[in-house]
């Protein structure tokens, strides 16, 4: 289970003249990604959802689906480039592309190059470009899918993380947003307390495992205190790596990447 907090307000209009291609982003808050320890099963998810739905005046507002694609560099012959140091390409040999459900026209890249950690934001058409250029190929895709809830000023997303079939999912994700604020520092006490309340609720539930908060290295990627969708992108990628590393026992460059992304406190 990965509780995450962000807070989108309604999307604001596009500003015309001077910065013509800039789109106004909804503002989001911190992203905490806890996760459960032991086996992840369907009944577990059902119980979690049930627990949430009995929480105050919470109401279900819809579904969500995020898609994370792992891109790998390929050489001219079409084989994957396996060694990071041998790659002469600026983007490195492996990076993530993220498509969010609530930002349909934007595509994010999280590039964990050791010296140039970057989060890129691009138009959604970039995916077509990527497939046509042929320098990079997507090696695997992960999906985060679930339900969205609203509790006053808090917006929650709970869902599962799977690879190909929704039935075989590897992790449970919980995202929390606090709408009135857009600064991470200001929001920290509120989020912490909400997280505590949730943990209390879940501990009453007698489910195996617990929530873990995931904090990502925002500063290393050059992201400021003012929360944006790029922060969300980073948090989801951190979440993914933590899930992957925990379950697969991770390869070497996976660990390096996850070290870049995750802040181990």
């Amino acid at each position: 289970m990965v509780p995450k907090k962000t807070s989108p307000t309604s999307p604001v209009a596009i500003r015309g003249t001077q910065e013509s291609l800039t789109m106004v982003l909804p503002r989001r808050l911190m992203n905490w990604l806890p996760k459960y320890g032991s086996e992840i099963t369907n009944p577990l998810l059902a119980e979690v959802i049930l627990c949430l739905e009995g929480f105050g005046s919470i109401t279900k507002v819809g579904n969500w689906l995020h898609r994370i694609t792992i891109y790998r560099a390929i050489d001219r012959k079409g084989a994957y480039v396996s060694d990071a140091s041998a790659s002469s390409r600026n983007l490195g040999h492996k990076f993530l592309g993220i498509a969010f459900h609530d930002h349909p026209s934007v595509y994010f890249f999280v590039i964990p190059l050791p010296r140039h950690l970057t989060v890129l934001e691009a138009d959604a058409n970039i995916q077509i470009l990527m497939s046509q250029l042929g320098s990079f190929k997507h090696s695997s895709v992960r999906y985060f899918q679930g339900f969205q809830y609203r509790l006053g000023d808090f917006q929650l997303k709970v869902g599962k993380c799977f690879r190909s079939a929704p039935e075989n999912f590897r992790g449970i994700v919980l995202e929390i947003e606090y709408l009135p604020l857009s600064s991470m520092e200001v929001c920290r006490p509120i989020m912490k307390e909400f997280f505590g309340i949730l943990q209390e609720e879940f501990s009453k539930m007698s489910v195996p495992g617990h929530l873990i908060n995931i904090e990502a290295h925002f500063e290393r990627f050059g992201l400021q205190d003012y929360y944006t969708a790029q922060h969300t992108a980073l948090q989801y990628s951190a979440c993914l790596f933590q899930l992957g590393v925990a379950l697969r026992g991770g390869k070497k460059h996976d660990l390096i990447i996850s070290d870049c992304l995750l802040r181990r406190s």
Partner: protein, 455 residues
């Protein structure tokens, strides 16, 4: 006994004024259907109905006066008040019976029919009037109001609001019997009466029937502006500070709060521009430092601008934006205020608007109560104290509740998780607000449920 009394007041005035309105409207219609004699009779009855209504209103005034007297000396005049109340009660009953009789007569003569009865106005105030700027106002006093230059629709509704609040508070007084419980209502009534008379003074200055016995001599006030020259300025006879001074002091005390002043139209432009501000990381911070005019380094031109200010905006970066409106423009009398998130923007952002976020909605609700409290208790320094109280909300998302010690609490009635949104305005006064320079965190914070016990 009293509950019936209350009901009959509202019902009686509703019926009576419905009758008068109805007859005014259907005058032409009646004359075409009924002979002139009946019309004359009906008009006469209506006139006497109007006289009885006036008597009822006078009686109500006398009752309120009696209650007010008793509020001033609770110990001595209980018996006297009780006597007065009983006397008024009997005379009011007599009036109502007369009115009922008249009503029956009019009904019998066909003037008052079922459909007009249903169209009751709960306050019994009729003669709707359409004012030049399109607002429909409820009663004839507004004729004068409409004629007054500069009275906007918003001002009218606030006046109407306080007037209706006054009537509202009169009703519970009639409800209670002559017991000790009634003193609680006297206090509320006193506050409402004070708010109403302040508003009345604002709109009808020529109707001042009592001389405000201040008579203090004009004082000379001096301050230094940025050029270092000394300027003298005479305060008005009530020793009020100027708006400029108030804002300057506030800025010195709370340096992290941005203060802006606008004229009314300028504010509405700014509010709509806030909705289209680009919110990239650095830009938002830049925007929150736009138009920053520092009052500590203000020159002569800024003083002039402040004299016309009708809207004050207090911005605590990333936490909240408070909008306070002043009436009249340039004075230090606050009119209304509202809280919003720093990311909100749009035409609904003004001192009487509501935020889209629950937390700010509740803060605004509490702020309305605080505003009325400050206006009634600290009439000369209400703006100063109010602004300081607003600044105490800097810790809205970090300060825990003084009662339960937690930050978020599930409110039982709303079933929402909220931080402590109530700041204790009853603890603040002009005297101790200057101590806030040392401890701005000193105002207690409460959750909605926690504060109900404390107040």
């Amino acid at each position: 006994m009293m509950a019936q009394f209350q009901q009959s007041i509202t019902a009686g005035t509703a019926v009576a004024t419905t009758q008068s309105q109805d007859l005014m409207e259907s005058n032409g219609e009646v004359s075409s259907q009924a002979p002139p004699k009946q019309v004359a009779l009906a008009m006469e009855r209506l006139a006497s109905a109007a006289r009885i209504i006036a008597d009822i209103r006078l009686g109500a005034d006398r009752l309120l006066e009696a209650l007010l007297l008793s509020a001033d000396d609770p110990q001595q005049s209980i018996d006297r008040v009780a006597q007065l109340l009983r006397k008024e009660d009997t005379s009011m009953r007599q009036h109502f019976n007369d009115l009922r009789g008249l009503g029956n007569q009019l009904e019998a003569s066909g003037v008052l029919n079922g459909s007009t009865k249903l169209r009751g106005n709960s306050w019994g105030l009729h003669m709707p009037l359409v004012c030049p700027d399109g607002a429909v106002v409820a009663y004839a006093w507004k004729r004068q109001l409409a004629g007054q230059a500069g009275a906007s629709a918003v001002d009218r509704t606030s006046f109407h609001h306080s007037f209706s609040m006054l009537w509202l508070l009169q009703m519970p007084i009639f409800k209670c019997d002559n017991s000790d419980n009634s003193y609680g209502y006297y206090e509320e009534y006193r506050l409402a009466l004070k708010a109403f008379t302040d508003q009345k003074k604002r709109f009808f200055p020529h109707l001042e029937d009592e001389v405000s016995g201040d008579g203090e001599p004009e004082n000379a006030k001096k301050w230094l502006d940025s050029q270092g020259s000394v300027r003298t300025r005479k305060a008005d006879h009530k020793e009020k500070m100027s708006l400029f001074d108030v804002l300057k002091d506030l800025e010195c005390e709370f340096p992290n709060i941005r203060i802006f002043t606008y004229q009314r139209l300028d504010w509405s432009k700014r509010a709509s521009s806030l909705s289209s501000i680009v919110s990239e990381n650095s830009d938002s911070f830049k925007n929150q430092s736009l138009n920053h005019s520092s009052y500590t380094s203000a020159g002569v031109s800024n003083v002039a601008a402040v004299d016309q200010a009708a809207v004050i905006e207090l911005l605590v970066p990333f936490i909240f934006r408070a909008v306070v409106s002043l009436h009249p423009a340039g004075s230090i009398t606050p009119d209304a205020l509202a809280f919003f998130s720093t990311d909100e923007g749009g035409n609904y952002m003004h001192s009487r608007g509501v935020s889209v976020h629950h937390v700010f909605r509740h803060v605004t609700e509490n702020a309305d109560r605080a505003l009325q409290y400050f206006l009634s208790v600290e009439s000369n320094h209400s703006l100063t104290v109010l602004l300081r109280w607003i600044c105490s909300h800097q810790t809205l998302f970090s300060k825990t509740c003084s009662k339960c010690g937690r930050l978020l609490r599930m409110d039982k009635s709303l079933a929402l998780l909220l931080p402590p949104v109530h700041r204790a305005f009853w603890e603040m006064s002009a005297a101790n607000s200057s101590q806030m320079k040392l401890a701005p965190d000193s105002v207690s914070a409460y959750h909605i449920g926690c504060s109900a016990d404390e107040f």
